[in-house]
């Protein structure tokens, strides 16, 4: 009986809570090892297998989605095609620098150039644009809090006399 009481008391101590939470999470994650996997192969946001494009010596290797900008849509599947009619039109856009680099090397797709304005991941910016807004809002709020704490030193540096 006293053991249960001690357990309840430990739940009331804030310091013990992260440990307690991690134990529960760990036990639940162990179930994942014995769980039968039933993956759906009709995925919403498909990508071709990376090896396929690498073997073809495609310079955009794992990220090539095909298509011609503003003329022909690339391989983009959206959940509700009726809400995003122009989907896939700019997926394959490459900036002039990116075109230049991709002509010289076959490893362009995995290089650092491929990101900003190189290959546009249209799923992220067009059909799921609201998520992008929220993600950056989370980041901004984290910075707001951190800046405020840093500027105002909310911790008491020294105990008050």
């Amino acid at each position: 009986m006293s053991r249960i009481g001690r357990f309840w008391n430990s739940l009331a101590t804030p310091k013990k809570i992260p440990r307690f939470y991690s134990v529960i999470l760990g036990v639940l994650l162990l179930v994942g090892f014995i769980m039968p996997l039933a993956l759906n192969d009709q995925q919403l946001y498909p990508r071709p297998t990376p090896q396929l494009q690498i073997d073809e010596n495609d310079p955009l290797a794992p990220y090539d989605r095909g298509g011609v900008p503003l003329k022909e849509p690339g391989i983009v599947k959206s959940q509700y095609p009726q809400f995003s009619e122009k989907s896939g039109m700019v997926t394959s856009y490459l900036s002039p620098i990116a075109i230049g680099v991709s002509n010289t090397t076959i490893y362009y797709g995995t290089s650092i150039y491929s990101s900003p304005g190189g290959l546009i991941d249209e799923i992220l910016y067009y059909s799921r644009g609201f998520d992008t807004i929220l993600e950056s809002t989370i980041l901004m709020m984290a910075f707001v809090v951190a800046t405020w704490v840093a500027l105002h030193f909310t911790m008491k540096r020294r105990e008050e006399e």
Partner: protein
């Protein structure tokens, strides 16, 4: 789209590309109450606590200074808007993002306090909220892997598999850590021992509304009836 979710007819939807916010009576009601409470908070002032000295006349007023008041009001409004958004979103990943935003902002509201006990508790709550991100997004990813979609309107038609149940368990554990419900409540209870009442109440309200919403989502995913 003519869809009935949990016995209620949809009154409409707001398409934002693949993210479709749907308007059903319960969701609309929770959305409106979250917004109304946010407005009340935006126009109110903080309370002042009085710490009485026993046996003496040295009563102490604990006030919130202006800088602290401003940052708290701002974060409380963001928290209210995030709660309102989480109420009507019809997309699982979008929902997890809203919950994550609520968690970060909750830490921020109490981070402006100058009491050591409260800050310690907020730190522990922050640790739990950080750990909770793993099951939160992991659960959503698990459901995406087993159904191939994260739109709740589509998931409503897909028969439940064991992997979906596991995914929704992870999701629930994530939300529980992020909002600090029953067994993990101690950290949040300590956080309330600080002046500045109306802004602290949004922490309570957001976790209550989010828990109701996550139960609705779990019912949609698992279809027990």
């Amino acid at each position: 789209m003519d869809i009935i979710i949990l016995g209620q007819q949809l009154m409409g939807y707001i398409p934002l590309g693949d993210i479709v916010l749907y308007l059903a009576p319960v969701n609309l009601f929770m959305f409106a109450s979250a917004l109304a409470f946010t407005t009340l908070i935006a126009i109110s002032r903080t309370e002042t606590q009085v710490e009485a000295g026993v046996g003496t006349l040295k009563d102490q007023e604990v006030k919130v200074d202006k800088d602290e008041f401003k940052i708290r009001r701002f974060l409380a409004i963001v928290c209210g808007l995030a709660t309102a958004g989480a109420m009507i979103t019809g997309d699982l990943f979008n929902f997890t993002l809203f919950v994550c935003l609520i968690g970060i902002v909750n830490i921020g509201i109490v981070a402006a306090v100058k009491q050591i006990d409260v800050l310690d508790a907020a730190f522990q709550y922050g640790l739990v909220a950080m750990i909770a991100i793993l099951p939160l997004f992991g659960g959503a990813a698990m459901i995406l892997a087993s159904t191939g979609t994260i739109s709740l309107l589509e998931i409503a038609h897909i028969p439940t598999t064991f992997m979906m149940i596991f995914g929704s368990l992870l999701l629930f554990l994530g939300v529980a850590g992020e909002t600090g419900v029953a067994p993990f409540y101690a950290t949040k209870a300590e956080m309330f021992r600080t002046p500045g009442s109306p802004f602290l109440l949004i922490i309570h309200l957001s976790s209550l509304l989010v828990i109701i919403r996550v139960i609705e989502i779990l019912l949609i995913i698992n279809k027990p009836f």
